[in-house]
Each structure stands twice: as structure tokens, then as C-alpha cells.
Amino acid sequence: MTSWRDLVTASLIGTERAVVPAVSLPGLPPGAEAAGGAGDSAAVLLDRAALATAARRAGRRPDHAEPLPECDRDPRPAVSPAAGARLERMLRGEYPGLLAEWLAAAGARGLRPPLQLLPALLDRACRAGLAGAGLAGAGLAGAGLAGAGLAGAGLQRLAAEAGGPRARWLAALNPDWDFVTATGRTGPDTWRLGDASQRRGYLTGLLVSDPDAGRELIAASWAGAPGRERLEFLAALGGQLRPGDEPALEAALGDPSQDVRARAADLLATLPGSALGRRMAGRALACVRTEPGARGPELIITPPADRDDSMRRDGIPPIPAAPGSARPDRRRLLLEIVARTPLSTWTAAAGLSPAQVAARPAGDWAPALFSGWARAAIAQRDHDWITALIRLAIAGPLRFPAAALPAVKELALVADPALGAPGALPEPGPDTPPAARAILAVLRFRWDMLEELGYAGGAGT
């Protein structure tokens, strides 16, 4: 409306210097626009603007826009309202570490998330992918033992699958969500021409659908790939390791890239029967021995003074100095060795259960030993150990150093969900330490989450 623009221009300049334009409004009775025509020109301008404002608002017509393509139908039913509400809480920041389990569990039941939550889910997966690329070298030293790179790619794949056709439809509207179509895409073009996240998605998918082809692709691409990409290969492989992967991983222990060497060592430590595991077991048994004590057997701990070259080659990271000392922290070294030692080392020879081993007094070394076992149990997915350590953490007088807390909490993320059933573990009391409370809260959350997704009895993952 030209006369409105003229009014705005005049008002910006000010009626001291500008002439008040006339307004022409179709349908206005003659003379009406002259209302307040006499007197103060500022008042005249405002009165005409009031008239034009009402006319503009009341006379508005709809715009015209092109429709969007229709999304394909999704035959899967939505999860229950309770499960959807829990997913919403998780997307707002409650237990984000359980998101992948929620998605996998819902997917296995043939259910989809509530549609309105897909944008938040895709945003989360997008960020996880970016963070994963940066953290891929963290390895065993970090809390994410499975590897943040894999976790990021895994979450993207799970989110894309959970979102189904609606997620693909949304991805066409927002380039941030490109990974949705990248993970679903097959064919060598993605591998040849895709960006880092598309290639990661393709490889992760291929390793699931055709494990042999995935390994051939890694082997063929390994020599020419930069260090960062070799790290991605190992991250993708980490989720589905097989005994046959050992020679390639042993070879990677001599890789020029420090991150690749560390990641290969971490993977070998989780591979049952690996030579690295046997070497680590030798180191562990050399520094932990059992002796009879006043109240039964005790663990006597004598770690080496520092890591040697063979330990470095097997992925033990540099050991920082002990608090208040210039010498390497031997508790830390113990922890790093135990974290990579096959758990059967502790139980098989002595004919003991994990609970019996873990309950043995170890004096000041107990927290480091506990953290090492916790990390080993998570990396080796050993549920007997996970359960024994959780029971010990809840019942025992252990005081966890702050640095061990992430590993302790992660126990609850991967534990047998049945531990979260009402009555499975003692209820927290006034003396329950905060770490134990955190474990119990995670376990209860997981139990409720899986029940809502139709896993009667909580188990099934």
C-alpha cells in the first residue's frame, strides 16, 4: 500500500520537515480520511496511520505458496504416550546416554517415536556425529569406552532408522539432517564421493549388513587413508569385532598415528583370546597377588614404577604424576592395566566368582582397582562382573575418587536391565554414597524405559 509507506517515511523524517501524505483507502466513506485534518500535523499523521493500520490488518489477504511433497506413509505404530514422554525428557537432557538404547529397543519392537520429537532427535544425533568426529581418539582413557566416534555414527544410524520415511522427508528440508539420507544410501558412490559423515554412515551400515564386504573395504582403503580416516575405520569396526580382526589390529599397533595405535590397542583388549589380552594379563598378575590376611585373603598390590615401552605399545597412555609428587601415579598405572586385562584372568585360575574377587580387601588401592575392573567389565560387556561391581558399589563402604565416577555411572548404563526392577537391589538409605544413588537412579530409569517399550520384565536388550 503506497500511502502506508509514505506515512512511514514521513513519520521517520518527522512532521517538522515532512509533509503528511494523504491516505487512500478503498471503500472509505468520503471525508473520513480528513478526520483530524485540521490542526497539529503530527496528530493528523497519527490519525491517518491509525486508519490505515486498521485497514491494513482488516483488509489483509492470504499469500500464496507452493506445497511441499507429501511424505511416504510409515506403517509402524507410535510408541505409547508414556514412552514418548520419556523420550522427550531424554531429548531435554535426562540420561542422554540411554538414547541409543531407547531407539534400538523401540526399533526392535517395530515402533516409531512420536513424530513431533523427530526434529529434536535429529538435532541430537547431528551434534553427536560432530562431537564423535572430534573425540574419536579418546579411547579407553575417556568414559565412552565404545568410542565416541562410533557412538556418534551409531546414534545417527539409529535416529535415521527410528525416524523412517518422516525423517528422510524432514532431511530434505533441512541440510543439517543430511546424515539421515547418507546412512540409508547404499552403493560405492557414497563411499567415493560422500563427505566424512556420509562415508562413516555408509561404512557402519555396510559392516552391519555385510560384515565381510565392510572389512574388505577397510582393508582396501587402509593404506591410502589419512590417520584421521583410519581412526574412523577402527571406530566403525569397534561395534562388531570378530576374532579374525586380530592380525589387522596387531598390525595397527605399529601405525604412525598415536591415536590409531591407542584405538587398536583398546579394541584388542576387548577381543576375547587376543595376544594383547594375554600380555596384559601377565602384567596384571605380576602386580596383583593374593595373600592370606587376618580376615581372609587380601590383595597385595605392587604396580611397576612407570609404564615401559611394551606397555606403551599395548596402548597404556602416559601416566601423570601422583598428587604432590614428581613420580608417576602408580594407582593410575594399575587402573590402566586392569582396564585392559581380560576379566577371566581374575576368576578362572582361582576358581572364584567376580563378586568374591571384587570383595577382597585391597586397602588404598581399592578405588583404582574398582575403576579398572569397571572399565574392563564395560569394554568386555561382562554382565557377571558388571552386576558384581554394582552390588559392591551399593553395599560397600567404597569411596570413589571423582575421576572414577564416570566409569562407575557407565556401569549402570550397560548393566543387565533387570537390576533396575523393584526389589532387585537394596533401596538407597541415608548412608548410601552419591555414586551408588546415581547407579540406582539410572537402573530404575532404564527399567521403566524398557517396560514402557513392551519389554515385560525389563530384559531383552
Binding site: L12, D47, R57, D63, P67, P119, W169, L170, L173
Partner: protein, 329 residues
């Protein structure tokens, strides 16, 4: 939008001295009329010197005149003036919006000074927008309540000066009448949660007086019922309804919307909109953001959306998914 009232106001207390009360009321009327004259000359000054400088002016520029309206016992005007400080930084078109606001304020100041010549309903609207409150007890005692099954369409919470306001939009299933129920909460208090979007409620609603009587209070509530999917209109139908309401109350800036439409957008950077079956499209309000959840619900197919229509666009608040379930946005 509407004046605040004291929720827990007791019934009319017996007046110790009716003559003194009348005197106080007359003093307030006089103070307001003086305040309206002051506002009018302030508005004219702005336009005389030009609005171009407004982007450099700090919030004090509007706080000063707002404080004088508080002194003049016109809190409705004060609130509207304080909100103006954000307009020069509200993006493209701010000049248009500032001029609109000033023009409508002058219209209000003019109308407030000639209340005696206005029809009663319009006078009630003007007084309410200036800041004269009507006590809830008087509303309940006054007009006949409207009995209906009310569909709770949508609600929106906002915060001004640490007071949270909840606007809940209802529509009579039998009468088709729109209604707005307000709830206020200071810091630490909880907002009224009894009207859940998507449900229906059998109740009597008593409406506050006004040329477009939207604001209501629940007089008698008999129970909760299924809501179902509300009947939606087209873009043109919504605009026609708003135009009719504007004819009665030119200051009306929030109008309840129920639209049968499909969310559309030309690209990531473009403003999303809602497109009806006849291709009529209305923009979504820029303040509502990307509205991705609304797009995810739709998947390119039409759905029923309830929200608030404003001159800047539609603020979506509730959508019904393809199974007819209400989803708060």
C-alpha cells in the same frame, strides 16, 4: 491484552463511606484524563521529531512515559508503552510496527478522553485497555454466564516483569464462541493447570464486558469431556473473522485461530507458513521459530492447527496428528 485482576479478591467489601469512594473514583478518572492528554502530546512529539532516532534510544525513552502513565493510574497504557522498547530491535519492518503502535495509542488516548460519546461496549473495551480493572467477582455477578461444552484449543505462557501469564483459548462446541481464560502467577507460584489443550470441559463461562468479549472466567465447571479435533477454517476465513473483530475493537492484536492447513516453507532460511486447501497461505509468527515439530507432524499433509493470529503471523500452539491426538507445540 487484558487487564490483570486480583484472583483471590474477596466479594465487594461493604463501603465505609460511599461518598469518599465516589470521590476517589472521580479523582482517578480525572488523573487518567490528564494522563491521556500527556500521552497524546508525547506521541505527537515523537512523530513531529521523527521516529528515525528510535533505534538509538534506550528503553528509558519509553520507560519515562510509561512511568507517567503509572502515576496517572493507567497501567494498561504503561504496559503497552514498556513493550515498545523492543520494537526498534524486532527486525525488518520495525518502523511500520512502531508507527502502528503509536497510531493505535493515540487512537486509544483520543477514545479515552471522549468516553462519554462511545457506545457502552466500546467504552468498556477502551477502559479495559487503558487499565481500569473489572473485578472477577463483578464479572461473575454481572452478565449471564454462557453454558457450553468448551473445547480447550491452545495455551501460551508468557513472562512480563516476573509475572507469568497463561492464555488459554477455548471455543464453545455448541455456540462456536471463542473465549480467553487468563491465569497469572508471580515468582514461585504455579499457573492454573486445570484446562488442558485438546480436552473438552462442560462449564459456564462469564465474559468480561467489551466490544469483542473474549476474556472469560470459568463460573461453574461440571466436568471434563472428550475434545476431539476442532473444526478448522481456511486462511481467508480466519482473516475474515479477525477483520470482523477489528471492526469492533481496532486494538485487538491476538485472535484465536483454528486452521486446516499444511505447513510450508520455501527453504531453510525462508519464513514458514500454513497453506490451506485453496492455496491460501498465512505466515507463521517469526517469534515461533522454525516450527520443525509442526512440519514433522504434518509430513506434507494437512492437519488442524490451533494458535494465535497476530498482525505478524500465526503462532502455532496445538496441532492434531493424523490419529486425532492433540500435540502441544
Amino acid at each position: 491484552v487484558a487487564e490483570r485482576t486480583d484472583h483471590d479478591a474477596p466479594g465487594r467489601a461493604p463501603l465505609a463511606d460511599p461518598a469518599a469512594a465516589r470521590r476517589r473514583a472521580e479523582q482517578r478518572e480525572a488523573r487518567v484524563v490528564t494522563g491521556l492528554a500527556e500521552l497524546d502530546s508525547w506521541l505527537c512529539d515523537q512523530v513531529r521529531h521523527g521516529l528515525a532516532a528510535s533505534q538509538q534510544a534506550g528503553y528509558r525513552h519509553w520507560d519515562g512515559i510509561a512511568a507517567r502513565m503509572v502515576d496517572a493510574q493507567a497501567p494498561g497504557l504503561a504496559e503497552r508503552l514498556r513493550a515498545l522498547a523492543a520494537v526498534p530491535h524486532s527486525g525488518a519492518g520495525w518502523e511500520d510496527r512502531l508507527l502502528e503502535e503509536y497510531a493505535l495509542l493515540r487512537l486509544l488516548a483520543t477514545a479515552g478522553r471522549s468516553q462519554g460519546r462511545l457506545p457502552p461496549a466500546l467504552r468498556d473495551t477502551v477502559r479495559s485497555r487503558v487499565g481500569f480493572t473489572v473485578r472477577q467477582a463483578d464479572v461473575l455477578a454481572g452478565a449471564t454466564a454462557v453454558a457450553d461444552r468448551w473445547h480447550v484449543l491452545a495455551r501460551r505462557d508468557t513472562v512480563t516483569d516476573r509475572i507469568r501469564t497463561r492464555r488459554t483459548w477455548l471455543r464453545g462446541i455448541r455456540t462456536g464462541r471463542p473465549a480467553l481464560v487468563l491465569s497469572f502467577a508471580a515468582a514461585g507460584q504455579v499457573l492454573d493447570d486445570s484446562l488442558t489443550p485438546g480436552t473438552g470441559t462442560d462449564a459456564d463461562l462469564a465474559f468480561y464486558p467489551g466490544a469483542v468479549a473474549l476474556r472469560a472466567v470459568v463460573a461453574d465447571r461440571r466436568g471434563v469431556a472428550a475434545g476431539g479435533v476442532p473444526a478448522g477454517t481456511t486462511a481467508a476465513g480466519l482473516l475474515a473473522g479477525y477483520a470482523a473483530a477489528l471492526a469492533a475493537d481496532p486494538w485487538l492484536e491476538i485472535w484465536p485461530a483454528v486452521l486446516d492447513a499444511t505447513p510450508v516453507r520455501a527453504g531453510v532460511a525462508s519464513q514458514p507458513g500454513l497453506r490451506d486447501a485453496a492455496a491460501g497461505t498465512l505466515p507463521l509468527h517469526p517469534g515461533a521459530g522454525d516450527c520443525w515439530p509442526l512440519f514433522a507432524l504434518s509430513g506434507g499433509r494437512p492437519l488442524t492447527v490451533a494458535g494465535e493470529w497476530t498482525p505478524r503471523g500465526l503462532w502455532p500452539l496445538t496441532a492434531w496428528d493424523e490419529d486425532g491426538r492433540p500435540v502441544p507445540l
